[in-house]
Symmetry: C3
Subunit: 159 residues, 3 copies
Amino acid sequence: RSGEMAKLTQLIDNEVFRAYATYATIVLLKMMLMSLITAYFRITRKAFVNPEDTASFGKGESAKKYLRTDPDVERVRRGHLNDLENIVPFLGIGLLYALSGPELSTALLHFRIFVGARIVHTFAYLIPLPQPGRGLSWAVAYTVTISMAYKVLKTVLYL
Amino acid sequence: RSGEMAKLTQLIDNEVFRAYATYATIVLLKMMLMSLITAYFRITRKAFVNPEDTASFGKGESAKKYLRTDPDVERVRRGHLNDLENIVPFLGIGLLYALSGPELSTALLHFRIFVGARIVHTFAYLIPLPQPGRGLSWAVAYTVTISMAYKVLKTVLYL
Amino acid sequence: RSGEMAKLTQLIDNEVFRAYATYATIVLLKMMLMSLITAYFRITRKAFVNPEDTASFGKGESAKKYLRTDPDVERVRRGHLNDLENIVPFLGIGLLYALSGPELSTALLHFRIFVGARIVHTFAYLIPLPQPGRGLSWAVAYTVTISMAYKVLKTVLYL
């Protein structure tokens, strides 16, 4: 059994894999933060979607008025969905990329730019910054993922 | 080739990794069930979103009235999206956590509580249970994921 | 360190794993394409959701009229969300399946049918094809994922 653990430890000790693990965890924590921001805006704006969530405001019409959409809540939710659409490809393609034997410096460049761009994207969405701020940050992270996908397919292609 | 397969088998034979594989698969199957529940409510409530889905109800106005939202359908869809938002981080962070060499008992505790909390969350959303039932089950699974992320970053941090 | 890299290379040299890496990357690129199609329809239909995205059309009422939903945009977005709901389980379960030591030919069959069905699903959604075209392509990919999940649980079950 210690032999098996050693092998797993070797995987996690590889520097490229450690870099992937670090940046993937950071960008997933950033995505998880969107849930808390949504909850914060739902509570401060009193804008809920489930009737059972407004029960503490009383019954009947007095609670029903809080079942409504709020622009700030919807904005955070769009940012959250955009995270899902872009971070899921990064997780999958990034893992395969980390296993495809890239140079450490090249891999770090990809991971850092992706995570940096997604953090900028979140600020650009929530502040919001004027366009093309959000569009550019989205495109940078998208391009990094495409670049990793190209490396993966070049290395492993098996159809 | 048998040497390579042996190495892969060693990964899948590691008990922590097997536990991760088991619980990740279970919670993904649970998430996939949401699609079937959505389909069930769309058909029984006759509430569709794509015009081509109502063609079997006839043409023109007779079919058009089934292009509508239904509270039960929307509720399942919200539960499904909440699954995506929370199970994606578990998949990524949980995999890295399983590779970071945790104690088997600690890892099992994390995986079991996460999956149990997400199953409770689904029931709390669909029944629905009064709050804070759904909120608590969400928070428990969220906290478990944060705990695994902390272990991953402590073990592998490479910025 | 070269010893570690060798081990990683062995993983990526395994033919089943290479097949998984190839098809997972292809289906993720297909999913990422949905973002570009959404952007294309938003721009050509002039249907936006964020006020800052319409600033180039002028200020006030002249820009505000472009803050609207468009059936084509919404259709692509539904296809994108359906991708997330189905490709996330494939990524997780497929990775574990690839590590569970399946026959290469069986694994290729699973990966090819899944990715083929999801590509058909996208065309069925966007054209749109009459039902049950979209429904069947969805069900085929769903069934493939269940089949892989069964193999994973049979191989690794550790509760």
